[in-house]
């Protein structure tokens, strides 16, 4: 990562999910079959309405919102990867719905800011 006066120039690259898990000290809660998938983009938000405005589908959702609606939003948006910040409690219902929909959930002890910073620095592209 290079710093140039007011901007950061990151060398973007695709990342493998299992490498993301390692970088954020993550724990995989469901969807282990996606561990070798590669992704290019990530989006951080607690606002599901904002996630629902995105047209792309192949991205990692980093969120602090751990409830059934974050999994429903992923299901409706066709997104397969959720990363929950700050070790939020995940209900059995969330795991069940995510598993039925083929969605991977990773939990990290890090904050959304730290998680996003690490993954941006490692090369994931922002959606905007």
């Amino acid at each position: 990562m290079l710093f140039e006066k007011d901007k950061i120039i990151t060398k973007y690259k695709k990342m493998v999910i299992k490498d993301i898990v390692t970088l954020v000290n993550g724990k995989v809660l469901c969807g282990e079959s996606h561990l070798n998938d590669s992704i290019e983009y990530a989006f951080s938000s607690d606002l599901m309405s904002d996630v629902l405005t995105l047209r792309i589908t192949d991205f990692l959702l980093i969120t602090g919102l751990a409830n059934i609606q974050s999994v429903r939003t992923a299901e409706m948006s066709d997104l397969k990867y959720i990363l929950l910040a700050r070790n939020k409690k995940v209900t059995d219902e969330m795991i069940e719905l995510a598993s039925d929909s083929g969605i991977l959930i990773i939990s990290t002890p890090f904050s959304m800011f730290k998680t996003s910073g690490i993954l941006y620095g490692a090369g994931l592209k922002p959606v905007y």
């Binding site: 606002l47 599901m48 609606q69 429903r72």
Partner: protein, 136 residues
Amino acid sequence: MEIEFKVEGGDFTQAGYASSQVKKVLKQLGIESSVIKRVVVALYEAEVNIVAHAYRGNIKAVFEADGIKLFLEDEGPGISDIKQAMVKGFSTASKEVREMGFGAGMGLPNIQDNADEFTIESEVGKGTKLNIFIKY
């Protein structure tokens, strides 16, 4: 073919069930995934709106040869100023709704963005009706 669902106001555990079922049918019909996403995002936003704002509602999905028609009708407080409700960022949602990740005034504009045809009618003290059409 058509399917109908009843939606209970305030029951966030069930919000999204109807949209999920409609998604399954569209997949079985072999509809293109980008179209499915537009349909279910529009329907999910509308379904969440019933849960968030109304007492109860009904969703009907009609699968036609060239597209899907969605009819949503609720019994609720209604919308006094639809023009204002369509403005991005305007919301009357409760704290509980915001805690679920909604209520930022983005739902109705997002429904309109995803729909090929969209109409909304509302009567204060009675409820709101949405008609959505999305071409395959």
